[in-house]
Symmetry: C2
Subunit: 335 residues, 2 copies
Amino acid sequence: MTFGEFDVIETYFTHRFAQRDDVQVSVGDDGAVVAIDPTEDLVVVTDTMVAGVHFDANTPARAIGHKILAVNLSDLAAMGAEPRWFSLALTLPEIDEEWLTGFSTGLKEMSEYYDCSLIGGDTTRGPLTITITAHGVVPKGKALLRSGAKPGDWIYVSHALGDAGLALAVQQKRLAIPDQHYRKVCERLFFPTPRVALGQSLRGIASSAIDISDGLLSDLGHILKASRVGARLSLDELPLSLPMTESLSQEQALQLALTSGDDYELCFTVPESQRGLFDTLVAHAATKPICIGRITSDLNRVVLELDGEPWQLPAGEQGYQHFAFSSERGHDGQS
Amino acid sequence: MTFGEFDVIETYFTHRFAQRDDVQVSVGDDGAVVAIDPTEDLVVVTDTMVAGVHFDANTPARAIGHKILAVNLSDLAAMGAEPRWFSLALTLPEIDEEWLTGFSTGLKEMSEYYDCSLIGGDTTRGPLTITITAHGVVPKGKALLRSGAKPGDWIYVSHALGDAGLALAVQQKRLAIPDQHYRKVCERLFFPTPRVALGQSLRGIASSAIDISDGLLSDLGHILKASRVGARLSLDELPLSLPMTESLSQEQALQLALTSGDDYELCFTVPESQRGLFDTLVAHAATKPICIGRITSDLNRVVLELDGEPWQLPAGEQGYQHFAFSSERGHDGQS
């Protein structure tokens, strides 16, 4: 048994601390929601990346700068929030000018592209650790939560899954794939795209949402737990990239798409009543979300089907556990 | 020459990043100020503490939990902000239940006393590093900044200085003092009191403010630089505790009070025109700020006087430099 991040937070923090009345959503979703204004809520998200845990010495500094903001913007996207500002806490073992140039370039590109301004932070000396706290806004009461899915709702993912996990598996020499495929999946691992516009467009349409940082089954599991529902997934519909389908067996590909993290796609649910509106919304979108299943009333149970037959993951592969000391790496993402 | 925190932030971040129009104060004050509402501004501060840099293995876990929130609340106080919410990024090498219990107890006490709610965060595995981003609010345009001091303004500090530095010096065996004094100054090092109520009461009265995290001369220096002024300090007025005056020579005491950090008192300036209002305000306060000097027009120059005579620090003692690799410890505080 591992002592997971969720246990740490629940045991020592969530249940012990008194809360202000203006806190609408606290620990336990992709971000927090607090009341700031009669018409808008503030959404606050925090993600940390630690050297040797979330990235290694081979990761380009520009990718680290890109990714630390991308994973925070992905949390904002999962809440339906419009990004505004972020703070940076940077702990550095030394002043490496080349690294700082690359890191700040990646960060600046994301900051300016998504119009999310760096407003402050703290620089300290110590083992390389980077924390960003990002702020966004949503119209009052419109934040997307994990807790609104209902039986019968359709389950979507925003784009192909498993690429980042494939890149990591190749890096760690657990899998070998052709070079041109490796380059493509490395882009996805190093430079994830937060689904910021999609997240905002889902306000009032999606009944729940989360971003996939730990693997589809693990993150969908948070929706199921928070919403007290289950899910049935049709694996035939699971979107897979060319590198995945051309380099791997079907079982390998499905396993990665279901359990590997770092893709930062959105997973969300749409009620039948909103499906027409949703289809219209995405009709002309460049990246079209894919419907992969349906919510059931079977609490916390996920049924997987392939070609109409039940399908099971190899034993022990149930998605990534945060802060698993038995595992090789930790992982980021607000609990 | 050391490559300080200020250079890192200015070189790689401040001047390179485009900013949104709603950012009113960014990197370069105790916190950032952003517009959220027609009547209120949001103040955001961030501070990191790293094991082996900001605290050592002898620091009680409860003190670490107290202090990481206290230093953030102190930044909010220096901006005149009312605390509201905070996020916690906690990187842990292992799950140590005793440590987590102590840490979360210290954090909870501060959180509840100052009505500042824990709203989220991230728990990761890695070298012990703690970052808090705290949020407060001020009436629109009323945040206290470093940049408003004018020649003739009176310079105040909120309470006795140097105690935390004395505790550290004793811990590091650079000084020896009687036990009963050591216990008192340790309280100040481990459990600093953020001057939250004082900070808010200074809105509209103080022309500038900062919290003393790095030493009076260093932090007053930020006010002088931001306000483009100088200062004359009367060291006879510098408030010193009994442990300081009873255990140290006058020179040792003044040196600590001027240059040692970690006191988290406020330093602020009050224009002559507001002095009557200010005196009325503090007449019945339990902790009375002390006037220690006056702002001059002599850009960035600090004149020290004792008994009406010029006084100089021993060479090389000019206050703490953030992120100084030549130094034994790094330091927290937004640049």
